[in-house]
Amino acid sequence: MIAKSEPLLAIRDLNKQFRGLTALDGVSFDIAQGELLGLIGPNGAGKSVLVNVVSGIYGATAGTVSFLGSDITRLPSYQLARLGIARTFQNIRLFGRMTVLENVLVADKRYLTRPFRSLFAKGAHDDLAAAEDLLERVDLIEKRDALAGTLAYGEARRLEIARALAGGPRLLFLDEPAAGMNEREMQELAAVIRSFRPALDAIVLIEHDVALISELSDRLVVMDSGKVIATGKPVDVFADPRVVEAYLGVEECDD
């Protein structure tokens, strides 16, 4: 849990414009090795845009993103994934016409560069075992041959996480993984996230639930209107008047 000197991911002056609208406005922060960083902010603050830029879905208008010191700002998303940057989506995007097991296998980096591996390789059993182990840990092993499109909501959420972990990523962005979950499901999710944490160099968790994010995060980054307005330990951040005004005030209106 001790942050090393070189950050895992360094975001510097990141700017994203959509036809004149500024979605990200000079965003800068580091993600340290070993940390679980909570990213919070009201709807429209730019959290998802930030993840989309970092994961290569959108190109940045200006600014840089570096991964372990090398500039990755312009890399296509498949190369970012191969470097070890994984993510889940706020709205579930599983491959619905594939089985649960295939959804995990498709993201396994060991397969990507060896197209016929599953058919002819001797090591196919080990790879399958790794995927089944992941399913075991998110409690989906009994559904391994079901089509992902037939899963219940909570199951689909867990499969999203298992799929994101399949490539053995170093950095994982979880974009509102608890959206639509009840209290019990949220606690199960928290347990899943904790259990996977040692396998990853860092996790970035986007979440609205104050209790859940305070419980899990080492540090918070608060965004509002495309800018970072506060960073720090959860207790300090939630005591900051600007955060209370921008974030908590709005959330009460939402509810």
Partner: protein, 294 residues
């Protein structure tokens, strides 16, 4: 003989199925139609005929054709689809690939002439046949059918069981998600064009061997008919293209047997229009394509 006609229909149907699977593969990953596909199939016949004329054995000719047509498929992807991958660019890629096909057609007619070119097959091969229950089956036709079935089975296995196939299916469902899980979407799309075009090329030579000549009008007649078969079977569905191909092949053969041969072509197109009206997902597709849901 009725049995012989049905076998003829199945042989022809397997070629339709091969071409239709090419359309459906491309449609699956891009949601777009490759209108150059029929002319690549047509070109396959000519490359085959010329290879054999230059002394190549039939297997070597098949291999050469699949390489040349596969490479041409890569070129079609690059010039007519790469820049127009967005969902708003259906018309652009359709027009561009259609024009590409017309260029291929024109070049073939300038190089080989507009008249069909006969293939030089050894006499022994031409007359060899098998007798089964008193019916004679041409060895050439049965070999064509056998290889076509093996190719389609291999394609099915590759799609269903290999990681390559998983990548293709992932791109078909969502290119964005696929790329976020490390799949090089451009590479997968190239591969699909390569496979589709190589199979079309094989179908082109097979047709030339079966009929005895290569002809420049088959891209329009049979190549575009395979497009109707893809729609009848279910867009984006490999099994649908396979069953649709065999079904149309046999129905056509029966139509000729019973004297309605003149109506076969129009029949296929009317049938497609009918299927699109009453069952837009196609006759055999297990699920609806994005196009059919629209």
């Amino acid at each position: 003989m009725l049995a012989e006609q049905i076998v003829n229909g199945i042989v022809m149907g397997s070629l339709y199925a091969l071409i239709a699977q090419g359309y459906t593969l491309v449609f699956g990953v891009l949601d777009k139609l490759n209108f150059a596909h029929g002319e690549i199939f047509m070109l396959g016949g000519y490359i085959g005929v010329s290879s054999v004329a230059l002394g190549a054995s039939i297997p070597l000719a098949l291999l050469l054709v699949m390489i040349v047509c596969g490479a041409l498929g890569l070129l079609v992807e690059f010039v007519s689809f790469r820049k127009f991958r967005s969902h708003d660019a259906h018309i652009t890629s359709a027009l561009s690939s259609f024009a590409f096909g017309l260029v291929v057609l024109d070049l073939v007619q300038k190089s080989w002439g507009t008249e069909p070119v006969a293939i030089e097959l050894p006499q022994t091969l031409r007359v060899a046949n098998l007798e089964f229950l008193g019916v004679h089956f041409s060895l050439v036709k049965l070999s064509i059918l056998g290889i076509a079935l093996v190719l389609m089975a291999a394609l099915h296995l590759a799609i269903a069981r290999t990681s390559l196939g998983r990548s293709i299916r992932a791109v078909a469902e969502s290119a964005t998600s696929a790329s976020l899980y490390g799949i090089n979407v451009t590479r997968v799309i190239q591969l699909v064009f390569l496979l589709a075009s190589a199979l079309a090329g094989f179908a082109g030579v097979a047709l030339a061997i079966r009929t005895g000549f290569a002809s420049s009008d088959v891209g329009f007649t049979l190549g575009i008919k395979a497009l109707a078969i893809m729609a009848i079977g279910g867009m984006g569905d490999l099994r649908g293209a396979f069953l649709g191909g065999l079904m149309i092949g046999v129905l056509e053969a029966l139509a000729f047997q019973w004297g309605f041969g003149q109506l076969a072509d129009t029949g296929v197109w009317l049938f497609m229009i009918f299927v699109l009206l009453v069952r837009p997902t196609g006759l055999f597709a297990a699920r609806s394509s994005k196009e059919a849901r629209a």
